[in-house]
Amino acid sequence: MESKGTSKKRFYLKWPWNVVTYIVLVAVLRIFAIPIILLIMWWNKRQQPDGPEEGYCLQRTRGRLTGLIWAALFLAGGGLAIWFFMTAQSMPYEAERLKEELSFGYYVIPVAGAAAILVGVFLAYRSLLDALVPEKSALAQSIRNQLPYPDEAPPVKELFAMVDRDLKANGLWCGKLGVGKEWVLGDEVSSIPRIRGVFSREEHRTRRAGKRTQAVHIYEIWIVDDRRERQVTTLKSRKELEEAMDCLRRRAPAALFGVYDSKEYQDLVYAKEEEQQYAQERAYRQRKTQFEEQERKEQERLAQNQVLTLPDGSVTSRITWDTIHELLRRPDQVGQTVPLQLVPGVPIQGQGHTFSRLVGLAGGGAQPTRILMEEYSGTPGVPGQYAWTRDMSAGEAEEVLRGWLRGEIPDLKNWTHMERSGRTWQQVLEHRSRGPAPTPPQPHRDWPWRMTAGRDPGSAPDFSWNDLEKGLRALRQEEDSYLVLEQRDPQNPERFWFIQSAMALEGPQAGMYAVEIGCSGPDGPLLWERMVPDVRDVIECFSDAYYHRGLDVSGFQEI
């Protein structure tokens, strides 16, 4: 059975097979291929929920192949014009008639045809260059232009990876415009620290041709950088345009925001005087400083994520290094140990465990300071069963506490593993403390459940216990028959917990059910396994996990 971490990758049509398929479909079905192509494109996108595997930039350059359609239209149009002219030339009577009717226009036909062919060839060349030679693509050039020294830009692979990483981690998407924390990917690429102005363009043009009225809507976002160069991205709708402006407002708050061709736009783009440019840059810096100060205050507010209980029983979230230093040294002044407690709002993960409380008994310079870190029980407000403790110097304790405030857990190598015994703690017996993670943790009460069944790829958030039980009873001794019940931290999808089961295919335990529990750890995923003979045992495990009844983890072995 495969573990969750190495579960099968989803199938999708990779480059260039997707293009080949589309071409074959067009060749065979002609216009009827369009819905099928759209369906395949939708399915391909769905099969890559974490974004295109090839990367956003490469996908974007390869997408320029659509330019071949325009190229083909131009070539066809140009070819048709020249063919028409040549045919007319071969018929003198017809040629004379056309000369009379069209006069000068007759001679324009071959020129226009040749021009259309040239445009078509150019478009085809650009499309193929963008799609097949990313180094020379317009997108790569646009990224290079945003670097401080374009001539010293790294290879295109690194350039694209740089933008992709940012978009994958921080990307907000408004149509085809992706806004990360460092980069904006549209028809061109902009570096956010260089953005000085963002302008929306919304125009509606109507054209009358005979009885028909044709309306053209233009939705564009114009980004102006610190060199007064403009990157333009065309969007589909007003909604996308508004969303894009909102996203950029959040990511580049110090930039000027306005409407295309407004006074602000003109002033920014056409500032020729050095003095004027300097004033604009100074105003930008001032706005940036203001926003950074606001951000700092907000961060300070968010940093208040722990409750410090002081020796007199009072509590505070305003914890500074000075407070910690003073508390740890206070025993030198008062002549006795000083108790303190730190409780994080959200339990801290580290060293393969989750911790919900730190208790300290400061000894000052004369006595060691005792620190005890209590493991999280899995339920808020319920005391943990295990803890880790160690005596240390005040200096070392200060380091541990500072780390704790940053959400970091120290290496537990020289710490003693303790177990709750009534109101006190006792050392965990040797055979139970063989490793840093002796037993799997319980599922998280607040994280939502998702179910994935082996034969039905894709996880389902809407399911009941009956669906789950039915899925478990349907497990067979087949390679793709497995069921995963999974949780992910909504705040941090990197943190997960799951229980999964399948039947062993071969070996002495063939036919038995393997139940595995896995979770995220600081050094990668952790996995425990237990073999059970009956599906009822499997159902019991899943039921205890699903209903948070305290899953019996005693028989699970870490693998």
């Binding site: 907000l172 969303e243 909102d246 959040r250 507010r301 208040q304 994520n305 409750v307 410090l308 509590v315 505070t316 979230s317 305003r318 409780v343 994080p344 709002g345 959200v346 339990p347 919900s356 808020p380 407000g381 009460r445 607040d446 994280w447 939502p448 459940w449 958030p461 809407d462 909504p490």
Partner: protein, 413 residues
């Protein structure tokens, strides 16, 4: 020797009862303690009253409470022949048959002595005499029983006549400068005496107004309460502030509240928080409201530096002590792990009760429903809450994660 009591006792009386604005109550207490050590029987019963609790003197003095010591001092006062002690002992539960037999003065002798001082203008004695009538101690003092009267009508008439005497004495004490005397006078007007004297609540307000005009701190507060009940909030807040400035602890909350609302004064969150803090440290019973307001100030960083731990502690304390639960704030603390451990189930329990237009609560509820935090996942309901939450950045960002399918179902993007 003073005119009515020993010098230290008269000075103590001034500091404790007659001149509250001087804030020298603690000095008065020390004088009484010294006088007790020197064997002053009157000082014993006066010190006992101080130790019985703020309602016997004034909460603004912040005297320690020690009822046992108070009882001991009161007995000592009676046994050592203090006239005021003998009368006051009737009101504090220490008088029993054994003590009555051992006391050197009879109740009537004690009453006559105190009455004499009262008639010569001693305010405390005027109040004690007034209270003897108000509380109905006079039959015991005069040794009257049912057998002394021919008929029930005679009894009624005797009681009516004597109860009514409290009015004059309590007014005299109030006018002479002892604000405590007016408390029972106002009660007498408001409640009357069942079957004997009808209530006259309008006269009670007169008492409070008189006290307030005289500048007694507690009367600013009482009068403000009356004004507030009548719907005259602006003037009420003004009197609450005056009371708080004069050191009346029961008015601290209201003064703070007026500064928070900017009611009759410029808005001043720092001053509001300062008053709430004073209310929480004062020897008063009513603390849930200042605890809730102070909790909110700490949560929002209004007037004080933001401190979620303190905010949660105060808000939870207020709720646990019978105060109204600040549903949004407690829900937000639990949902965000601010000042307490994150607990979505508890957060939901608070937030779902929010039944007014509270965009921040709707945002949290929307997020919880959409992500199945503390409740079963329900994206449609979550989106509904998010749409109700308004148009601020976090809401927009959260909404961006969901889309409506062609069939009208909300799904995650």
């Amino acid at each position: 020797m003073g005119r009515f009591f020993s010098d230290p006792v008269e000075r103590a009386l001034k500091y404790i009862y007659y001149d509250l604005r001087s804030r020298r109550g603690q000095e008065g207490l020390q004088l009484l303690q010294q006088a007790v050590q020197e064997g002053d029987a009157d000082a014993c019963c006066l010190l006992a009253r101080c130790l019985y609790g703020p309602e016997y003197t004034w909460p603004g003095h912040n005297f320690p409470v020690d009822e046992q010591m108070g009882d001991e001092l009161m007995r000592r006062s009676v046994l050592e022949g203090s006239a005021i002690g003998t009368l006051l002992s009737l009101r504090c539960g220490v008088m029993n048959r054994k003590l009555a037999q051992a006391m050197p003065l009879s109740f009537q002798e004690a009453f006559d002595t105190v009455l004499d001082k009262a008639e010569h203008g001693e305010p405390l004695c005027q109040m004690i005499i007034g209270n003897s009538y108000y509380w109905g101690d006079f039959p015991e003092i005069q040794g009257k029983t049912r057998e002394d009267f021919d008929s029930d009508d005679a009894v009624q008439s005797y009681l009516r006549e004597n109860y009514a005497k409290c009015e004059d004495w309590l007014w005299r004490s109030l006018r002479s400068g002892i604000s405590t005397g007016g408390v029972n006078l106002a009660n007498f007007y408001r409640e009357g005496k069942a079957g004997l004297i009808s209530p006259r609540p309008e006269k009670a307000i007169e008492v409070y107004r008189y006290g307030a005009e005289k500048g007694y701190p507690s009367y600013f507060f009482y009068y403000a309460n009356e004004l507030y009940d009548q719907g005259n909030k602006g003037e009420a807040f003004d009197f609450y502030r005056r009371a708080a400035e004069a050191g009346e602890p029961r008015a601290f909350f209201w003064a703070g509240y007026s500064y928070e609302l900017g009611e009759g004064v410029p808005k001043d969150n720092a001053r509001a928080a300062q008053y709430y803090h004073q209310a929480l440290s004062a020897p008063i019973q009513e603390k849930v409201n200042p605890a809730n307001r102070m909790g909110m100030c700490y949560y929002d960083g209004r007037g004080v530096e933001r401190d979620y731990a303190k905010a949660f502690q105060l808000l939870k304390w207020a709720e646990d002590h019978g105060g109204p639960a600040m549903l949004y704030y407690l829900g937000a603390c639990y949902a965000n792990g601010q000042g307490t451990q994150q607990d979505y189930a508890k957060a939901f329990a608070y937030l779902e009760k929010v039944n007014w237009d509270c965009p921040h609560a709707f945002y949290l509820l929307g997020k919880m429903y959409c992500n199945g935090l503390g409740v079963p996942e329900d994206i449609a309901k979550g989106v509904e809450y998010l749409q109700k939450a308004g148009d601020y950045v976090e809401v927009k960002e959260e909404l961006r994660h969901y889309k409506k399918t062609l069939f009208g179902k909300w799904v995650r993007r």
